[in-house]
């Protein structure tokens, strides 16, 4: 499939808005999911470290 | 088993009639919603006739959905549900009894009211008849499916909206064929296929829904 020029590729025969609207939104959604997964993992590890540190301090004061 | 079913049915009916507000609730909601539509879209008869099956069915659906909060929650709160789980009778039978009572109180009045409301929408006589039959077969299905959702959300905060969210996708086939049967009568194609399918859904729900509800109740009460 030879597009001839960048302009033709972007224009998508007049349907550029629809085609790119679809592909770009899909990319954004999947990228957002990946970002959310990374942030979730970081958040979990951070919260759990605080939790374990507090638990350790509790055990130390008790013994 | 039949005695247990009868006992639960009679108890729930008795409780419902003591709080007559609940009984009337679903019916009043149904009447008000249906009566609001012509005010919203205009009094043109042909438009109302086209809309009637959908409007009446959606209103019945919403009225049934609103009344689901009464199904298990009161018994859960006063401890009766726990006793029912401990009782020797199969939970499925008890659930069936409660759903039957729920339908008699919240579903059957809608079926009886529907012809009068159908007249507001200028529905012809045969369409009114089909409407009644479709609601007669369909509202028990709504109660049965609703029972599963009510059991799943027992004691959960925000359960009112959650029940609606859970139950609406499952109501879609009933709505499609219920409203479709009246539409088919109005357009002359005949409603047998729709009503037979609704009957099939009813049989399927009678078999599966009490079982799923019982499982959900056990999960909720663990």
């Amino acid at each position: 499939m030879n597009w001839g020029s960048w302009q033709n590729f972007i224009a998508m025969g007049g349907y550029g808005l629809y085609v790119w609207g679809s592909y770009v939104v899909t990319l954004v959604v999947l990228a957002a999911e990946i970002a959310a997964l990374v942030m979730r993992r970081r958040g979990v590890i951070e919260r759990l470290s605080t939790f374990y540190a507090a638990r350790r301090r509790n055990h130390e004061t008790e013994t | 088993m039949i005695r247990a079913f009868g006992w639960v049915l009679r108890r729930d009916l008795m409780l419902a009639f003591r709080r007559r507000g609940d009984v009337v609730n679903a019916l009043v909601f149904f009447v008000i919603v249906v009566s609001l539509f012509p005010l919203g879209v205009g009094p043109e008869a042909s438009q109302l006739r086209n809309m009637a099956p959908g409007v009446l069915w959606v209103a019945a659906l919403l009225a049934c959905m609103l009344s689901l909060a009464r199904l298990f929650a009161p018994d859960h709160q006063d401890g009766t549900l726990e006793q029912m789980l401990l009782a020797g009778e199969p939970l499925v039978v008890l659930v069936l009894g409660k759903v039957a009572a729920h339908w008699l109180v919240s579903g059957l009045p809608l079926v009886l009211m529907a012809p009068l409301l159908g007249l507001q929408f200028d529905l012809p006589g045969d369409a009114l008849g089909v409407l009644c039959v479709s609601l007669l077969i369909g509202t028990p299905i709504l109660s049965l499916i609703g029972a599963v959702a009510a059991a799943l959300t027992l004691g959960v905060r925000g359960s009112g909206v959650l029940v609606s969210l859970l139950v609406l996708p499952l109501y879609v086939p009933v709505l499609v064929f219920g409203a479709g049967s009246v539409g088919a009568t109005a357009s002359g194609t005949g409603a047998e296929a729709h009503l037979l399918l609704l009957g099939g859904f009813l049989t399927l729900s009678l078999v599966l829904a009490p079982w799923a509800s019982a499982a959900a109740l056990r999960i909720a009460m663990e």
């Binding site: 590729f9 085609v19 679809s22 939104v25 759990l48 | 959300t153 905060r157």
Partner: protein
Amino acid sequence: MTKSERFSWFVFSSPQTFYPLAGKLQPWFAAAAALLCAVGLYISFFVAPTDAQQGESYRIIFIHVPAAWMSMFLYLVMGFWSGVGLVLNTRLSSMVATALAPTGALFTFIALWTGALWGKPTWGTWWVWDARLTSELILLFLYIGFMALQAAIDDPRRADKAGAVLALVGVVNIPIIYFSVQWWSTLHQGASVSMKSAPTMAATMLLGMLIMALGFWMYSIAAVLARVRSIILERERHTDWVAEEVGARA
């Protein structure tokens, strides 16, 4: 090997053993996803020819159809693992089911969004009450209902089991819902408005769709593995191995 030394896959049904396995596998699936999607995108833009009737707008099909396939497939997988967790009372199966839901919901959204953007140039309206799009919309509600129910229940095991009942009820209902919506749509609109009226499948178009679908599948596995690892850490936080794991990472 003696009988007692024979390897069993069931060793991975414990969160503790599954966690590192998932961690090792995840990058491979991510890489496979990137590769397959790159190839799929290349085919969709540079190999597949222009369609005679729909022009270039049909290229949306390379995302719309694979996303729709994934949305339905992931719901079935979610129902399966939910069911396993309910029947066998295993925690990990339910955690996997919980991890599947958001990815499935996102693919459903993508299918609906791309469906709308395909419908506009093809039939002139943003939303078409086509049987398949309408069923996708209902599927989105089923996913959201599952996630909302699990979020509303505080006790994790009750949330697992309640979600499982809901997912299984949904799985039973999906064919019924699809059948009713299809009946309803053909009755009211006839066959003219249907996503099935896609261009006659040139081999390249089908290939592109299949490769994108495989790419989405690999992506889903990678995403679900990552999510379930976070869920395992959260749910098993009272164990020593998680304390060690977090200590090593923090």
